[in-house]
Amino acid sequence: MTRAGFQALWSHWRRNPLQLFTLVAGLALATALWSGVQAVNVEARASYDAAAETLGEAQYDQLRPRSGGTIPQDRYVALRRAGWLVAPVLEGEFAVNGERLRLVGIDPLTAPAGLGTGGEEVDLAAFLGGRVILANAETSARLGSIADVTILVRNSVAPGTIVTDIGSAQRLLQRAGAISRLILLPGQPLGRPPLAAIAPDLILDPAQGGTDMGRLTDSFHLNLTAFGLLSFAVGIFIVHGAIGLAFEQRRGMVRTLRALGMPLRRLVGLMVAELFLLALLAGGLGVVLGYLVAAALLPDVAATLRGLYGVQVAGTLGLRPAWWATGLGMALLGTALAAGGALWRIARMPLLASAQPRVWGVAASRGRLFLAALAVILLLAALGLALWGKGLVLGFALLACLLIGAALALPLILDAILAFGQRHARRVIAEWFWADTRAQLPGLSLALMALLLAMAANVGVSTMVSSFRLTFTGFLDQRLASELYIRTDNGAALEAFAAPRSREVLPIQSIDMPLAGLPAQVYGARIGATYRDNWAFLAATTDVWDSVAEGQAVIVNEQLARRAGLWVGDRLTVGTLTLPIAGVFGDYGNPVGQAILAEPVFKRLFPGEAPTRFGLRSDNPIALRRALIDGLGLPEGQIVDQAALKALSLQVFERTFTVTAALNVLTLAVAAFAILMSLLTLAAMRLPHLAPVWALGLTRRQLGGLELLRALLLALLTATLALPLGLALAWTLLAVVNVEAFGWRLPMYLFPADYARLGAFALVAATLAAAWPARRLARTPPAALLKVFANER
């Protein structure tokens, strides 16, 4: 009997290959979306990690000579022999093939993992022997070829820099036995003597938290993860739709099988087994598909067959076991969620109930009321959470309530709009068009919900990513405005030397002290064109810089302002001085509060502090750098070319922005597929709706045109509703989740052109999805329509 039951169930698929295709393709696409987003996310993370490694100087504590110059190699060995795990770095300027480059020598055996090489394999013997050097693509192209040396392209190497073994570096720079600085590695052993006992001439530079991009990128990761979950939700809706329709179609067969004596329990068991197999098949297809799509969309990443088995190969995308697990889990979970309701209805279905699938429920059913109530409750909960919620978990709860509530409310809102249209229709065909669109809504609502979420996700992604980019580039311009950054113990000499050679000399002087009872830093700024031109404020008085320059005001960062409950106009006590706050500035990535005073005020308050760091503005930073080294005798390692680092980090972010655009395309394509499949599945059930209208005098072509128009109308309405939802989503992420997770709020910008483009894309997608079913309708033979009136189907 089991075998016969299986045969009967499968015979349905054999006779309706399109439905089987819908089910498998829907599940596979949903899974593909999920695993594709995972791939995008992983790739984005890898890009950041590469950037972090390149900018990695800041992430480790370092030892450098107290009085400038270099560190003798013996001191390095002595430190290692005392249990200090340090890694040597020698830097210098080096001319090769007419190019002046920064040469960085490292010891690959002790260097922190990933420094310089971006975690990719390099032949060690060749590297130690000086036969291999590393540079990024641009530097490598500039260099051309060098005799007896292979240049390996590693784009994690900073621009204008070549990385080589420290032994070669000493030889090339003619500085035998010299080391510029020592990187202090994590995981130091027990029982180390104090630094002063071994190397009193070295001082420890702590890792620079202030310019660390780590917290910025953490924020970005969090937001991308949120969108990963959203894509999961879109997928679930599609799977739900595909399975729900497949079950509706088989009500007749279930009735027949039961009438023939198949026990209900056995029948349900068979269907569960059948679905499990289908979900496994489709899920597996989806994981592979997602992997291939991601590999095709992502730049510089290759998919390989080996990658499918999780093998990590440099420059290729590996399909991790976790993707298999979550991908198949997603397919099974989605199937279970979708099939649960359908199986329950089948189990409850009276033996003699109509086999005709219900497409049109006139009366407001109990289910509709329930969904409406649920949607209202969820949306109210979202509102409540937005107003009064605190904490990261509640921030995500807000997201969930907002999205599910909006999705559930969608059919009700659309129905209300269509009913309004029907009431105000004048012509009889228009009236029927509105009414029939309403009638079709229940069958399409899952696909439309998927479209709503996909559109909202895309609006949210566009807004979030673009806001992030504007904020980030603005922040970099503001904070890394100077072309060169200098570290020196002799500030007076540097100022005297640099002043005539640069546009502006900006001392960076600060002191750690509590402000308003919170840990904070106070800076003394030399206010000039750099500050006036580059700094953006979240809030400020009109004459903010003048009043700060005159010593009449102070400006504070957002963290301090929010935590201390201060804003523009409030007064802040710094040491013995109390000044009004003239401006609040965004300070992304900084964990502590900050206040900025004018330099003279700072010197008066803290006379003992002398600046040890300087920013230099120059139109010719290369010449200035040369002059500082040759003329002032400043060690290479104490000059940082921030402009180059800034360019590199921006480039890395641009790549991520491209990747998220690919995500948008993927999501909308899947939503369009959901619409197509829903329309195709509904087509047969819709004949009883269309045949009477045809018989009363409409041509098939007219009916097909109206079908197309109907899909466009629904897509347009859904897209319009998705816009505020997407903006609410972006707002929640930027202004709620981010504040809870990181303590600062990312400003939200609006991008109407992007939204218009997305909307147009959604309409095109819906048109494409509806075109085929409409064309099929326009070509239905009259005999097929006439059958409606004669045959019990």
Binding site: L115, L124, P189
Partner: protein, 346 residues
Amino acid sequence: MNAKVLALLLLLPVSAQAQGFAGIGSTADGFATPAPNHTFQFPADHGAHPDFRIEWWYLTANMTGSDGTPYGLQWTLFRSALAPEAGAGWQAPQIWFGHAAITTPTAHHATERFARGGIGQAGVEVAPFRAWIDEWQMAGDTFDHLSLNSAGPDFAFAVDLSAEGPLVLHGEGGYSVKSAKGQASYYYSQPFFRLSGTLTLPGGNVAVTGTAWLDREWSSQPLADDQTGWDWFSLSFDSGDKLMGFRLRQTGGTVFTSGTWIAADGATTALGDGAFTAEPLETTPVAGRDIPTRWRVTVPGHDLDATVTALNPQAWMGLTIPYWEGPVIVSGSHAGRGYLEMTGYD
């Protein structure tokens, strides 16, 4: 950079499946190779042999705390040459790496170090004896009286070693054959160290006493192409006898065994292929793979038929080259303690 992985892949370049110490280079371009009938020169041979590709100073110890808790300790200094010359400065082709570990019945701590040989960060001197990498050091006026110290982020040890027996030469007078094709190494041991000292563990300092076994081995290509890994036993029986035995696993499921039966007075009997057997009785999932942690070990010629059980089955050395190494307990025809090393389990 994955320089560390690379370093080891380069040092041990053979085949992908030969992860670990088993996969030692199949060619020995320019490197010296071991030959039979070698006469050792001590103390000179306690030092480094830079014209050979790979060499180690390998100490394992079975110890007991004052409360009777058993402990194990491992300290190894490896030398690996990129070219058969000593060299000086950064250009020296000698690379050193050190492994240190403490095993308790419930925990296993392990750490590693890497160093360039030419700049003084690591090396071996003969008289007085001194072997070091970073602050880790094994040193003494003579090879018979050594002090050993080492430290990682969460453990440290400092112990004194005193030899109570002679050096032991394995194989034919220290020429140890590793395959039927004739691959071989120079191999001798000091298995008679008495040990006392202090272990520093997360829970505090522990005073320990026990015995230690130091292996010295160097070669340029000790393994054949078809050998995928090894299982190495050093066992000290309550009777005073000791056994060194290893089993090289070959593709196709065959094994090559060799060993040395060491009487309490240091007299040795070489055990040729098959005279020593070891077969796994039970495996434990360790670090995502199945590792044999209970063995049947026999030497029919000396009436040995014993079960060797890991003190802590999770004694996994999760280092750049991962392998299993930890203390074992012997029961059956003979009772005792010892150490077990297993490589090449993927």
